[in-house]
Amino acid sequence: MRRMKIRPEFFGGIIFDPIHRITAYVDKDFMRRLGYEEFPGLDHLTAPEVVHVEVTTKCNLECRHCYTTPREELSLKQFEELIDLLAEIEVFQIAFGGGEPFCREDFLEIARYAYDCGIVPNVTTNGVAIRTDRLDIFGQINVSLDGADRETYLRVRGCDTFHEALNAIKTLAGSYDVGINVVVTRHNFDKLHEIMKLAEGLGVTEVMLIRLKPVGRCRNVYDDLKLTKEQLSRFDETVRSLLSYEVPLKIDCAFMPFLTPDENVLIGMQGCDCGISSLAVKSDGTVTPCSFLNQKLGFWWEIKRIWHEMKEYRDVNPCPDCSKAPVCRGGCRVFWTNGMDSECLKSISPLSREL
């Protein structure tokens, strides 16, 4: 069930239109026009827009840059109770991930439950064992494809499943909204045009560029895969050159320190949105700020309280000398050293890692 949701917020409200895939922040006049007269007296959203839910840490691959670490799993009933809670606070979307979500036998039941509760379920998959039927409940299915050819894919992931992933995209793109997730490393950075060309030909909905993060298994290979300082210095111009393709491009908020703050970037984009518009729940039920940040904030049944207590994630005041700070918000917290992204090219922290 996909239905439009209108949520009054302190600034006015949010209109979530899942049919047209639009989330719009509007002012109080706009909301009054829609018949809403009362607005919450908060300084933050009443609830997350999206909650990232790890349904399992099991996987049929062993990608070397995976950020997951093994954990227990909630039962189907517990996940349903979590979803009830998220529906109650009017969460718009759930971004299911893992591990490989489809390695969990009852994953589609969990996703179906979210759909029936009026929440749009999205899923990220490696595409290797994905089924191709009964997936119309998903708003979007994102398949990880870190290269436009087998050699690049293998070099980045360490798993020889390029053709399986590509076939999954080809098969699914005919029936569903499919996106491509690309973890950007030094091995595929200069081949992003090839990925965009491939994506254009496949007719996918979007390409999402994700920053590699030294979390989970990736810690072991991070230094071998991370973007070089020279590549980071070219990140902005490279991303802009990718906008010429017809496929919409999305960019991980963790890349914010490497984008130039002109009006096109400033509008609609910001750094870390933990506690601002998103939150994460791990497979064992612990709540964390995001999928990558393993800071335990509590348990899933406390999610309402946790959300309202995330002041330290919302009210950051990093990098006082940087004009981009209000938008960048200090970059990705995974990389934070002394309150700023240690890989930011402007970083002056003496503890910055050598790039």
């Binding site: 439009m4 209108i6 006015g12 209109i15 239109d17 049919i19 047209h20 895939r21 639009i22 719009a24 922040y25 509007v26 002012d27 006049d29 706009f30 026009r33 829609l34 018949g35 827009e49 999206v50 990232h52 790890e54 950020y67 971004a95 991930g97 749009v120 999205n122 899923v123 990220t124 708003g139 979007q140 994102n142 990880s144 909204d177 996106g179 997730n181 909905t205 979007e206 999402m208 994700i210 906008l243 919409p248 491009l249 999305k250 960019i251 991980d252 908020c253 963790a254 914010m256 096109n264 509008i267 609609g268 984009m269 910001q270 870390c272 949105d273 998103s278 995001c290 999928s291 990558f292």
Partner: protein, 56 residues
């Protein structure tokens, strides 16, 4: 009436964020189209009363 921010599409796991690619470049036009669309969608949903409907 103002539209502060528009996010297009859905969010996948591992993304954390957003970025609207080429759509960002045409933001003012898109925002106005979307704003109109949202009002119309709300109308279809029955959010407006009859008086507002006339104004819309």
């Amino acid at each position: 009436m103002r539209v502060y921010r528009v996010k297009l599409g859905y969010q996948s796991d591992s993304s954390g964020g957003f970025g609207f690619g080429m759509m960002m470049l045409f933001y003012p036009i898109i925002a106005s189209i979307i704003a109109t669309g949202c009002i119309y969608a709300a109308y279809l949903k029955g959010v407006f009363d009859e008086e507002d409907e006339d104004k819309a």
